[in-house]
Amino acid sequence: MATTYVESPELVDDGPVLLVGTRKGAWIVAGDEQRSHWAVAGPLFLGHIAQHMVLDPRDRTTLLLAAGTGHLGPTVFRSEDLGRSWKEATRPPAFTAGDALGRSLRAVFWLSPGHAREAGTWYAGGSPQGLFRSEDAGDTWEPVRGWNDHPKWETWAEWPDEGTPDGSMLHSIIVDPRDASHLYIGLSGGGVFESVDGGADWQPLNAGSVATFLPDPEPEFGHDPHCVRLHPLQPDRLYQQNHCGIYRMERPEARWVRVGDNMPRDIGDIGFPIELHPRDPDTAWVFPMDGTDVWPRTSPGGRPAVYATRDAGESWTRRDSGLPDRGWFTVKRQAMAVDARDPVGVYFGTTSGEIWASADEGASWECIAQHLPEIYSVEHADPTSRR
């Protein structure tokens, strides 16, 4: 394994590309075909808080970056040449002027491309927990009023903002590949919500998942889903890494099953990310963290490990070969990714600024980048043009 650090992205090989958002800028990490040599290009937007960088999987060209700084308002930058040049969105995501609740957007936290048949459509999730939509490849954004102005928004969303240390946020925006009007979102805190009419109306989807931090441990809403995923080849299957466990749901059932109960007791099933195998709906990876005592959010016992399931959560296997014996970092909800190669490459970025890669579906790990700022997000990209 070899890594070089360069200033600008020159993707001269046909290997996987990772889009890395950090607390102080963004990087583009490109591998060769064998996934043994990596070029770490950046920083892009040094000093900006780069929450999430995503390549449009439909045109494989448009790159969006959700960014802000500690002082300036949030925005979205766009690139059509893999980060060599950028243009700011003409109208970034924002709540409506004169909003009844007086909400103003503090951060664009999450970006999701829209349905495959709706070219140029994107969704963005914010903090506070607003949902926004663009129909012109991220240049102009409109509030999704059915969510932001839903009569129950104030009840469902943690508001006024008293949530997670980085503020309450809307994440895990999922579009059903069979139906562009069927949407899921996750709220930290608030729970999982579903719309079957393109976002005009919403319903909570939290039955079966617990919220041990509330007086009623099984409320209708108020949960803290950390990351929700739908398998594109089996769109009736949802996975969820929650503040209180790992869950799976098989639609049309509307009840979560806690498959995290099958994790080793001394590890538990608390964590932030969950990633799915692109071709096998039964395979998923998680990165457990210590959710005991005052919630250090580091690996249990300080021994970093990925856990993998090959049977939809019925059993889990520890995958830590090559990872450090001791480590005290966190892997955030957007900071784990998979590529589409065979065998699948699995990647995660740490709050201590390292990127770890496995070219064998988690069996062994190598560090491919270090000394980056705190990593917020890692996304896999497959750009059409690399030069």
């Binding site: 500690g70 002082h71 300036l72 308002g73 925005t75 924002a94 709540f95 957007l105």
Partner: protein, 86 residues
């Protein structure tokens, strides 16, 4: 009037530290800035027309938070940032 631009916003003003803008209120001057330099307003004023918490706006030497504050062409507007954090 003369408007002083802080370093983090000069990516919008082609690196100019001082620009000219017109208006009879602070909000109107900032709106004119946005006409000249699209996007600059939302980075310092939120969608409810409030000056963002870490942005400081001075009319001459007086700090103001109200965008409705009246100004005249002989005033000078200084936009600053309260840099904090690590």
């Amino acid at each position: 009037m003369k408007v002083r631009i802080p370093d983090p916003l000069r990516s919008y003003t082609e690196r100019q530290a001082v620009v000219e803008a017109t208006g009879d209120t602070v909000g109107a001057v900032i709106a004119d800035l946005d006409r000249q330099f699209p996007g600059i307003r939302f980075r310092m004023v939120d969608e409810q027309s409030k000056i963002r918490p870490h942005m400081k706006v001075f009319v001459n030497e007086d700090a103001v938070r109200d965008p409705e504050t009246r100004v005249t062409p002989s005033d000078e507007l200084t936009i600053m940032q309260a840099l904090s954090g690590g």
